[in-house]
């Protein structure tokens, strides 16, 4: 089938060498700061060859990340949806604090400036995760654990959004107890439910922050 390419075929060894070397280069000097030039120098592969295969250093990093991360974040199915998410989010947080996770953070950040990278990130990383998440949500709805109303993607946003927000901008990293509280709050809702009235009945409006 497919078009049989004529000419010399690409050296598979080079691919591995480059991906490996790029990872360790990134770990030692920082994932930003990885340049085609340095990769070429470190691996002994000619710059021309690199450019023939990847458009820029971030593309290499993305490939390297995915190659090493196929099995990362495995879906752990627990007894309830809530437990599944709890488990997954804890793994997520843990993963992001590892070297690999830091790498992904850089890639995500860079993606906002590099359209092609963003596309790759979405297609090869975020969407698979989302697909997986959706199936859990669907399971939760089916099992009666979750409300039927909201869009599954919204549910995922609600669950993972805060975690990412914390990872990106939080003062300190998310902890297991943070996630427990998060899930508990999100599941039960922000709204006050019991009949108890607030101590002060008058709706005290806060002072508008200047």
């Amino acid at each position: 089938m497919g078009p049989r390419p004529s000419g010399r075929s690409r050296d598979a060894v080079i691919t591995c060498t480059v991906l490996d070397a790029t990872l360790s280069l990134g770990e030692s000097i920082g994932f930003d700061r990885v340049t085609m030039e340095k990769v070429a120098e470190v691996t002994g592969v000619a710059k021309t060859t690199l450019y023939r295969r990847w458009p820029n250093a971030w593309a290499i990093l993305m490939d390297a990340f995915l190659a090493e991360t196929r099995e990362m974040a495995p879906l752990v199915q627990k007894r309830t949806v809530r437990e599944s998410f709890s488990e997954d989010m804890k793994l997520l947080v843990q993963a992001y604090s590892s070297g690999r996770g830091q790498m992904l953070l850089r890639i995500l950040a860079r993606a906002h400036v590099d359209t092609a990278l963003m596309d790759a990130v979405k297609k090869r990383w975020l969407e698979p995760l989302q697909v997986r998440g959706r199936s859990i949500v669907a399971w939760g709805i089916a099992s009666g654990e979750l409300q039927e109303g909201p869009d599954p993607d919204l549910v995922l946003d609600i669950l993972y959004g805060p975690v990412y927000h914390r990872l990106f901008f939080g003062a300190e990293a998310a902890t297991a107890s943070y996630i427990d509280k998060l899930i508990s709050t999100v599941f039960s809702g922000l709204k006050r439910r019991d009949g108890a009235q607030p101590k002060a009945t008058q709706s005290r409006r806060p002072r508008a922050p200047k």
Copy 2:
């Protein structure tokens, strides 16, 4: 009082010129791609002078952003906390789709690679917003609209996390109706509350996504 600086004082005109020019430069060529060199050329200010005042182009952009944004995103106090947040988040989303917002997105992305920038972002942008948000949450708790349990910062994460997540990685931008659904879901909780039982009792486990 205060330290009396000796020597020639910094030219205030330069500050304005540079901040203005940097903004419009960024808008025309893209906020990444703004370089010290170009700012110097466009403004006619010497490169050395720029470096004396800012360590790099992102620092200028941050200053420029804040200078223009003091009054942006003013807190609009509505009748209820829920309405206040809804209003604020809609403004937020709208703001982020403007030119200024795109700028902030770049800054936030870049901040993950530039520690000093991240510090500035946190101290000068995120924290003020957070302080404002906390006061609304406090008001909501006091008025009985919100649960007393969760940490105010967690509440803010839950509300804004999904929005940011969507802004950063969503397929399409957040809409007003998205925010309405988000708030509604978050306020009432993900958990199923009515007596209704799930259709299928057998806990159908989803197919693990390969």
Copy 3:
């Protein structure tokens, strides 16, 4: 034969362009004041390319000088050694007052501060001249025109030293008649030879200059 250089070969056109342009640049703005930046601008050759080939502007100037001067100062063999030197020194003086000569003067001056340049000057300019000079001296000794005693290099120092000294620090430039007198004096010696006695026998000691 020889080492086959791998990779793209250096563009010969660039070499010529740069050497030519550098010469005329130097003539128009002064040989000091020639900078890599200006050469790059004038020639349209990238700065990086210049630095790949020459460490600094003086190295370009040295190359440019030699390229244009291969045939300059050709040895003119006259009937006697004395005439040969006379002819050569006159040519030398004349050469040094030309644009090219002014250039060499700058190079010689700069060489006292730039070791690499001094090495180049010695190896590629002074030594060839010296070799040529030595052969004339040898001829003079063989023909009986010159004493056998002194070291040939000393003879060259004695002949050319005064000329250079005059070129470097003399109030006015050396003239043909200066050279005639110089050679005549140097050949016959400073010492008084005839039987004539000094007018005043008492050894009048000069007043020590304060």
Copy 4:
């Protein structure tokens, strides 16, 4: 003469400080490489003040050199002119190999590019030496030790030219024995005087060096 005004003016202190500091700065980092900026930093004197007094760093160096060198190279009057010159030239060579001498070499080199510096060098250094030299020559002529014919300045060129030539461009430094041979050769002349004929009578012309 008169008693100095009590209370040395501040100006004078600065002058000394700067001259001293410049010298030692030059000795530590190299006399080229001395900049106004560095002098200002080292001495604590404001750049403005430096520029008010000297047009550039070389001018400071020249002043510093002369201030420290008033008594250097003192004229040593010996029994004969020949001995006087011999002594003086040996001192000269020795002086030039000292730190101060290296400094002067740099100044002389730089002077070829800096007219004002060249003027200063000539007026304040070379001419005094020349005046002194002329008086010795005059003494030698008067005493009958030297020929009457040649211009005294030519004699000085002949004597000092070779030494300077050697100092500037010689492979190795001039030694005492070099100077002895130089003087001996110069005094007796290059021309062969005895009746002895060259071994080979045919005027063997040297092979023209290619």
